[in-house]
Amino acid sequence: MERALHPAPRGRAVLLEQVRIVGLGLRREAVVAAIIHAVVTIVIVVDIVRRQAGTWFDSNDWTTLGIAASLFPFVVWRRDARFGPAFLWTLPVDRRRLALAKVFAGWVWLIAALAVLILWQNALALLSGVAYPRTVPLMALSGATALYLLGSALVLGLRHPVRWLLGTIGVLFLLRILNEAFGLGPDGRTEAFLKSIGFFLVIDAVETTAQTLGPLARWAYVTFLWIGAALAVLLAALSRHRERRRD
Amino acid sequence: MLVNLDPNDGRSLYLQIMDEVRRAIVVGTLQAEDPLPSVRELAGELVVNPRTVSQAYQELEREGVIYVRRGQGTFVSPAVKRGAGERRRKLTREVAKRALLDARRNGLDAEELVTMIRKLAAEEGETE
């Protein structure tokens, strides 16, 4: 008997649905964020009126943003069991592609949120009349992208990413304490080791090339490298979800 | 038509269904040209694989007990009256088999059973 097999869904439909679903799942967080921003806005506006708004726009600190971007994947994936049998994996889509679609969906919402944040900041800066050192928003977005991809790699590549994260931080912290307390600085040896594997050669090469480029080109070049590296790590992590392999 | 399936019965399900249809015809619940429930309906009612019902219907059709009117469903054959004797005998055989098995299990033999059956039937006739 010639059996007509049921078709699998088309890639685009799956991708769009992931964007919708991830967005839907973030509604609550979005509401919370909106409320916080509303409160902060009121406080800033009050300061603007009192002409004390200068302090708000001093820092050029994107660290918080960076940390948020790298931890965002935890929020995106909190409801799906990434390992073992989960509803997600029962769908007729290649597991790696589905995971990638979800990562992409999260990225779309991350960028959307960041764009809104940057616009909001600039609007307030404009209102306050402060010469806001407007960092090229593109840098924030590309940096966030790279960190988000790395975070996603962490979430998808490890069963217990939180443990690994806390463990690594703990170890680094411990090393730092030891270093300061007993001067157990491994710096000399570390530097020698890194030199031997040509680590610095790569850094030098990248820097030299970067020098030769104009600012925009330089940004593009560095971004390309960072995002490329992050993507490579992500793809490596995704190999754990290959259809044709034992976990 | 009421069909009851006995899970403890040793026979295949489709045979049970066939016997139930025959029983209904003999008893008179189903008469010539009466419609039978569709495969879908009966499968749903009995919670059996529709293919089992199909199998039963096909066998009954082969025997000429029922026939299919295209687009309208399955019906009892008009020729049913004629074959009633055969069906009736088959039914009697099944009932007798069960009674005999029951008797043997209790250590009774066929003669004792037959005598008692006759006696009971006579008593019932009197009280009616």
Partner: protein, 300 residues
């Protein structure tokens, strides 16, 4: 019945640490069959289903669904399957039923929207509610809708009656029977509640400690197991070559009862030859017959 196999496994083996989940399982499910996969809890039923979906990858052996290799053609295989998982809880507890239906529908181009609406109606699923707020039974019925709505050629039902109260259970199974009448489907039901679904089944497979100890049609199974009522002399022992599933041998009297596996005429002859007097041979309901294989004494 078609000669084609809807699903098959070849020497399927899986271990969780030191525990054997599956041990050389050769499953054969013909197209159009309603195959009951039986076994105690932890016998390997759920694992077998998950391997068919490529949700779990085996240590050894392979599996096929409609000729597609589950390991290398996972997505294509899953597009042919409607799956009712063991657990009632859903990962997407925060979504409304309606939204979840939409979500799943998008992944199955064969989804029949009219049929889905009909199933929602028949099963009484309140689509406006969030999935997480559903009762156990309603959640199960929702899962039924999700599995049936795209009319898949293969249904994998893991403990389908679990969580359903008796009245709803019958209605649900009746709906399943009607579904089978409308759509040519192969069904594999994994359960340890045999009597609830036995009328639907026409094939049976019995798993015991990860091994498939029996695999045959329902009629064959019932023909292979009988309860024998015998009278035996004192000190009589069952011949070792007879397969014993269970025995009842009271201390007083010479009457005993055995549930034995084997062709009834041959077994009766064997018992008689060994000096027993067989007074009665009765067939068993499907559940008891299957249980015989699960509890067979001395089975390796």
């Amino acid at each position: 019945m078609s000669d084609e196999l809807a699903a098959a496994t070849y020497g399927l083996s899986m271990h969780y640490g030191r525990e054997t989940a599956l041990d050389g399982v050769d499953l054969r499910v013909p197209e159009g069959a309603v195959y009951l996969l039986l076994g105690a809890n932890g016998a390997g039923k759920s694992t077998t289903m998950k391997v068919l979906l490529n949700l779990e990858r085996p240590d050894a052996g392979s599996a096929e669904v409609f000729g597609l290799d589950t390991a290398s053609q996972g997505p294509e295989v899953r597009a042919q399957v409607g799956y009712l998982p063991e657990s009632h809880a859903h990962d997407y507890a925060w979504m409304t039923c309606r939204r979840l239906l939409q979500h799943v529908a998008l992944h199955y181009p064969a989804w029949d929207h009219a049929y889905a609406a009909h199933l929602v109606d028949v099963f009484g699923v309140r689509v406006e509610r969030k999935v997480g707020t559903l009762s156990k039974g309603e959640s199960r019925r929702l899962q039924f809708v999700l599995a049936l709505a795209h009319r898949p050629p293969l249904l994998l039902l893991d403990e389908p009656t679990d969580g359903l109260d008796p009245m709803v259970r019958n209605r649900t199974l009746a709906q399943l029977a009607e579904h089978l009448a409308d759509t040519p489907t192969t069904v594999i039901v994994a359960t340890h509640h045999v009597h609830e679904v036995e009328s639907l089944a026409d094939h049976v497979g019995v798993l015991r400690d990860g091994r498939l100890v029996a695999q045959m049609t329902r009629d064959e199974l019932r023909a292979t197991v009988r309860r024998y009522r015998v009278e035996v002399p004192d000190g009589w022992q069952m011949p070792p070559d007879v397969r014993v599933a269970s025995a009842r041998r009271p201390r007083a009297g010479r009457e005993a009862q055995w549930t034995l596996i084997g062709e009834p005429d041959a077994v009766t002859a064997r018992l008689t030859a060994a000096g027993a007097s067989v007074s009665e041979v009765t067939p068993l309901a499907l559940e008891e017959a299957a249980l015989a294989f699960m509890s067979e004494e001395g089975a390796a």
